[in-house]
Amino acid sequence: MEKILEVENLNVSFNTYAGEVKAVRGVSFELSRGETLAFVGESGCGKTVTAKSILRLLKPPFAVIKPESKIVCNGKDVLKMNKKELCEFRGDEVGMIFQDPMTSLNPTMTVGKQIMESLMIHKKLDKKAAREEAIKMLKLVNIPSPEKRIDNYPHEMSGGMRQRVMIAIALACNPNVLIADEPTTALDVTIQAQIMDLMMELKTEMNTAIILVTHDLGVVANFADRIQVMYAGEVVERGTTKEIFNESKHPYTWALLRSVPRLGSESKEELYALGGTPPDLLLPLNHCPFADRCEYCMPICKERKPPETVLSDTHKVSCWLMHEKAPKVESFYDRRDK
């Protein structure tokens, strides 16, 4: 498959009063056309920062993308773009759906104007053509009577509809990559199912690559092709959805999978709860970031960073348990099946 986006050794820091917070530390991944890659992890693990870096939406000088990082989209180096190139890149090549549909639309503009804006800039359409195109987009995202709805303001719409408008804006210029940052977190289950199905339909229709940022493992199991599990600004495990759900090897992935109640499980039995908190990213971190909370922690885990072990073409894990001299441990799956 054709690679559309390549991120290599991405390092992002925030300069705060307390010092430098290294929010993303050495994240690399690739994305092919028509593929869905999910970023999974707790809040503060760098999912959103990684996603925003791709569009260079983080504000300097507070946020700094380190010079050793590399982001290449469709053959173009994103980090070397000037202001004008960046404007052309955003929205046209990569579209983004933001986390909160209630606050990320402009309340003083009609939704139609907000969709038309990018069409007029990127596709150089005149007002009339852009309006027609915007109505078409609204129809595509299943908004009833789009000819009327196009003149509505965001406050006249429900949460699900606003999220659809966000999708329409992001997809208006038919981007190669769509970044969806927690697209359904603020929505109800039935609306969530509608929105996710819609995104998947549009994906197959337009062959868009999708980056899905979420902490909902249920959504991921349903809709992602590949998953990367992030922890404290690093990717600790990556693989196809099947590999992550059925053969994961990292104790953090196990912890995530264990902490969700399953519909088939006994009620009121104790849920697995991961103790402790993620490491303070202000402090230097030269060992495995998960070591302090890991129940399988060995002395080496607190001394050196584990290398990425390759288990298959797609499945890679950064954990010392993968080392040939490490003891064999009882995995999450062995325990569950008991």
């Binding site: 109800d188 996710m196 249920g218 969700v260």
Partner: protein
């Protein structure tokens, strides 16, 4: 006093919404809670779950219908009796970021209720705060901190400690976990279950996370646009949902499991919840229901017992031809 600690009969709560319009947030709901049980309440946003919970603890006064707490009508309570009710019925709020006073220390927040209900010396209060913080898994030194110094999970624990401080019998948990991360959610739910076992608490657990509700509840009620459409024990509800809305709701839960995903069939629900201002006549779900017949547009279905302990409000339930 009967076996029920809380009993709501034909509970209605209307809000004024502009000129000559009423928003029927809760419309004719019957709820009964046994001592020591957990009733889950699920439904989409805007269906009246929170209003229902708030009316039960008299944060709102019911428009019509009665709420009985330990056999006494809550709306007729005055003076000492009302004070006792306020002590026995507590609520844990949805948003741990907005429900703690930013200008008070955690210790002050927790003792506020105790000052009203108990006569305690400063020393006793301090000991009690330490005990409560310990119970909800926080360090005793947090008593002198402010809410903004704590994380979301820690704040929610403070919210729980505040509710427990006055030794209640009944707690309404209004989406206590929806603002939290998965790993923290598990911690809070475990804590709630543990406290219930130790102290014999009764919970009304409001959430839109259906798998979590199944996990914590004994019985589950499903609400749609202000009325209860199905009520059953949690196994019965999740294994054999009767109402078409419940079926759609349960099939829409994305499960974090690869094996079951392949076999599950999703029932698609088109459209959105109609506005609770002047809701449609007849069955409120009819516009989105694929089984809707003529009768559904004329009469509002009542909650009927389909199986022992399993109630559903649907005209078509139990009939062969759908």
């Amino acid at each position: 006093m009967g076996e029920y600690i809380v009993e709501a009969k034909n509970l209605c709560k209307y809000f004024k919404a502009g000129k000559n319009q009423t928003l029927k947030a809760v419309d004719g709901v019957n709820i009964r809670l046994k001592k020591g049980e957990t009733l889950g309440l699920v439904g989409e946003s805007g269906c009246g779950k929170t209003t229902c919970g708030r009316t039960l603890v008299k944060l709102y006064d019911a428009t019509s219908g009665t709420v009985l707490f330990e056999g006494k009508d809550v709306s007729k309570l005055h003076g000492k009796e009302l004070l006792a009710f306020r002590k026995d019925a507590q609520i844990i709020f949805q948003d741990p970021y907005a429900s703690l006073d930013p200008r008070m220390t955690i210790g002050e927040i927790i003792t506020e209720g105790m000052n009203v209900h108990f006569h305690m010396s400063e020393k006793e209060k301090e000991a009690k705060v330490n005990e409560l913080l310990h119970k909800v898994g926080l360090n005793a030194e947090y008593a002198n901190r402010f809410a903004h110094e704590l994380s979301g999970g820690q704040r929610q624990r403070v919210g729980i400690a505040r509710a427990l401080a006055v030794e209640p019998k009944f707690i309404v948990c209004d989406e206590p976990i929806s603002a939290l991360d998965v790993s923290i959610q598990a911690q809070i739910v475990n804590l709630l279950i543990k406290l219930q076992r130790e102290m014999g608490l009764t919970y009304l657990f409001i959430s839109h996370d259906l798998s979590m509700v199944k996990h914590i509840s004994d019985r589950v009620g499903v609400m749609y646009l202000g009325s209860m459409v199905e009520l059953a024990s949690n196994h019965a509800l999740y294994d054999h949902p009767v109402h078409p809305y419940t079926q759609a709701l349960i099939s829409a839960i994305p499960e974090a499991d690869m094996d079951e995903e392949g076999t599950k069939k999703r029932v698609h629900l088109e459209g959105e919840v109609p506005s609770p201002i002047n809701p449609p006549a007849g069955c409120r779900f009819k516009a989105r229901c694929k089984y809707a017949k003529e009768i559904c547009g004329q009469e509002m279905p009542a909650l009927k017992e389909v199986e022992p302990g399993h109630f559903a409000a649907c005209h078509m339930c139990g009939k062969e031809d759908w």
